[in-house]
Symmetry: C2
Subunit: 446 residues, 2 copies
């Protein structure tokens, strides 16, 4: 249920692909929204959509009790809130709610809370509220939101969180300021790996000689399904990888948050670190502003340049099985990395699971194996029971890797997943038996 | 000492960059050599250098008691020896020595021995004799050679092995046919990683704003020295990466032998597998025929495309320390992967060490830490004593990775090395103390 009655005024800083949709959704729901963005054409568009516009952050927030900040980075947040030109801080009314929806490191938002107190603005009700779900859901008000903050702040800001999110996808994360960012960060482990996996999987299919339209439709029906694959697919299939719905630089920023925070904890992120290197290579080629689905370019180039190659798989069904095996291996390891990292961040793992399967990180593998990995994280016994065993999954992954080697196709993530599976088998030889696929998570110390 | 007196006739199949030098060296040493190659211009050049030439493999080997085969792949060897047009087998005199100097999988040369017996040619004295050292040493007769075979075969072929090798770099590897190939394969773990490390290290230096001429000279004087870095350096610095001394396709072939043989053993090769993916990407870009030093292109592109970036290191010495820290981390992990794989292949680890430090795989790190890793492989106690500890090395590697992230430079191998170091610390928390850097090898099960 959305809130009824008179709607308060809201200021909105940062009207990019996500922010614009979120802000105009509030307008559609009857709020008077004053927007600010450094990019003037966006402001004009926002005005045309019924918003008020401001020339500076301070002007936007003046007299409004609710401020939503949806800039791209922690540096930008710091600038518009405190350190830049005519920043918001001085103009925010006493006791105002400040919802920081940008994806930032936990350390940043915790530092911001401290800095507000030091600057005598402990009255501001800061909410750490990163979102997930993409531009379409932003505009629909059906985002996934993970919010952390004091009870007082959450109470004041809850109606806005509700306006922007799907009723089943608003997560109030225990742990106060920073907990929302940690939750988002752990979710983004799935995103960082699965965005690239979409390109790697479909690129591999192409190397095998499968038609990408046919292969992708089959993948969507298989255990190799992932939200990211389905979401990126139309743009991967577009000859120009258009429209730009989420630029490479966005996921690269999130990836950097994951790997740098993980290093701070001494926590290994073999999957995300591998993805990050491929993202850096793509950035170096000038693909930064392009849609991240365009990374399939890195995986399909070379036709006619790699010399004669021949795989073993002859028919479409065998080839598809290899592609699905490759994707499942990647998704298994990204699930394990996510849950192990969430455990390291002391997040509520049931909440992590519920959030991830309903957000952009969802995949069939996560849905199936996630609960088993959570058991492992809690020191409970793994099942040895039904369904595909770890050994069977590793066998499929190995067959995919071997075929990729024959056709000389790069498969960075699958190769890393296979290495991790081998290390898990070596670490715990009992996993060589018919145990749950969750056993791979032993590599991350679970 | 080279053999004195009358020199027997020798046939030589495969006159590529290595084979041509090896064959003409024999001519210079007074042998009558009959050469065969599928590429006619090479044959003309060989004739001009004093060789006899033949139109087919059978014609080349007819009546000569010694045949050296130096083609590029196992497939080519199979063709010229047995299955191709007018192959050598039928024409080889009874009891002839057949030196297979190509780098091939152990499984291939063992299969070849079996096939010879099945075809009624068990009389042929097969020697498995892959080489290392590059084209210049091939032409000088100062290669490293690792030879396996029956005592009888080695006895017959030893003088030729001696003609082609440096007297201190001829290794008769215990274990019969296949042992030479296994030794070469383990050595190539170092090669596969350190060829790419040269590009990664100098590429990273470039991203940091160091002049590559300056940086490389400093690296050569540091603990970040490696034979491959020194050898590839002139070509990395050449604007066209010329001359082509060793094509990408050559090291990619060896890399494929390593990773596929390792999978057969269930042995993880996280470093080489990472390198292989980068090689596949380079192949897809059409760099296959280019010198492998040209892979630095993958690491330096993007100037002006990656947006404004800024590292923390200000002065040249701090930047150099980061580059050396990066290289040391990679060399440590490639040393561990090599020795652990050699142990898995049941090779004599003292011989492996002696061979590697004197061949193309040598590095200061291998020289320093190799003996400690061998101790670990033998279940002996690691020293806790002098010099840099594991923790200190990991710290330097981490600083390098973090700076690479700041300047958005891809560092695939260093990232993998850091992940492995983290896993080693997690596996064996006691390694967090002041133990030997060899502790990283625990990841490979040592």
């Amino acid at each position: 249920m959305k809130m009824a009655g008179a709607k308060p005024e809201v200021s909105f800083i940062g009207l990019g692909a996500m922010g614009f949709g979120m802000a105009t959704n509030l307008i559609k729901n009857g709020y008077k929204v004053t927007g600010f963005d450094v990019w003037k054409p966006t402001l004009e568009k926002f005005q045309a959509a019924g918003g008020n516009i401001a020339d500076t952050p301070a002007e936007a927030v003046k007299g409004t009790d609710y401020c939503i900040c949806m800039v791209a980075t922690a540096q930008q947040a710091q600038a518009v809130l405190i350190e830049g030109n005519d920043p918001a801080l001085g103009a925010l009314p006493k006791g105002a709610a400040l919802l920081l929806c940008s994806t930032v490191p936990c350390a940043y938002v915790q530092g911001l809370e401290k800095q507000l107190a030091e600057l005598g603005r402990g009255d501001i009700r800061l909410i750490d509220a990163p979102v997930s779900g993409g531009a379409a859901r932003a505009a629909d008000g059906t985002l996934s939101i993970m919010a952390g903050g004091s009870d007082d702040a959450i109470e004041k800001g809850r109606f806005l969180l509700q306006e922007m999110s799907d009723p089943y996808k608003l997560y109030i994360v225990k742990g106060g300021i920073g907990a929302g960012s940690n939750m988002k960060m752990c979710h983004q482990v799935l995103a960082a790996n699965q965005i690239l996996a979409a390109s790697e999987g479909l690129g591999f299919a192409t190397h095998l000689g499968l038609h990408p339209h046919f292969a992708s439709q089959e993948i969507l029906k298989s255990e190799g399904w992932a939200w990211m694959f389905e979401n990126r697919l139309p743009r991967m299939l577009d000859p120009e990888y258009k429209p730009v719905a989420s630029a490479l630089t966005i996921i690269l920023k999130d990836t950097g948050i994951i790997t740098s925070e993980a290093r701070r904890f001494g926590f290994p992120t073999p999957m995300t670190s591998t993805a990050e290197q491929v993202y850096f290579s793509a950035l170096g080629r000038g693909y930064g502003p392009d849609d991240d689905s365009s990374l399939i370019r890195l995986y399909i180039e070379g036709k006619g340049k790699i010399g004669p190659v021949k795989g073993l798989a002859e028919d479409d069904q065998s080839k598809l099985a290899l592609v699905v095996g490759l994707l499942k291996g990647i998704y298994l390891c990204s699930a394990a990395e996510t849950i192990a990292f969430a455990a390291k961040c002391n997040l509520d793992l049931d909440q992590v699971f519920d959030l991830c399967i309903n957000a952009a990180g969802g995949s069939t593998m996560f849905q199936t194996v996630g609960p088993e990995i959570i058991k492992l994280a809690r020191g409970e016994q793994l099942s040895t029971g039904d369904g595909e065993s770890f050994k069977e999954l590793v066998q499929q992954l190995q067959e995919a890797i071997e075929e990729a080697q024959r056709v000389k196709a790069p498969v960075y993530l699958a190769t890393q997943a296979f290495t991790l599976a081998q290390l898990a088998l070596q670490l715990a030889p009992e996993t060589a038996g018919n145990v749950s696929r969750a056993a791979v998570a032993k590599v991350w110390g679970l």
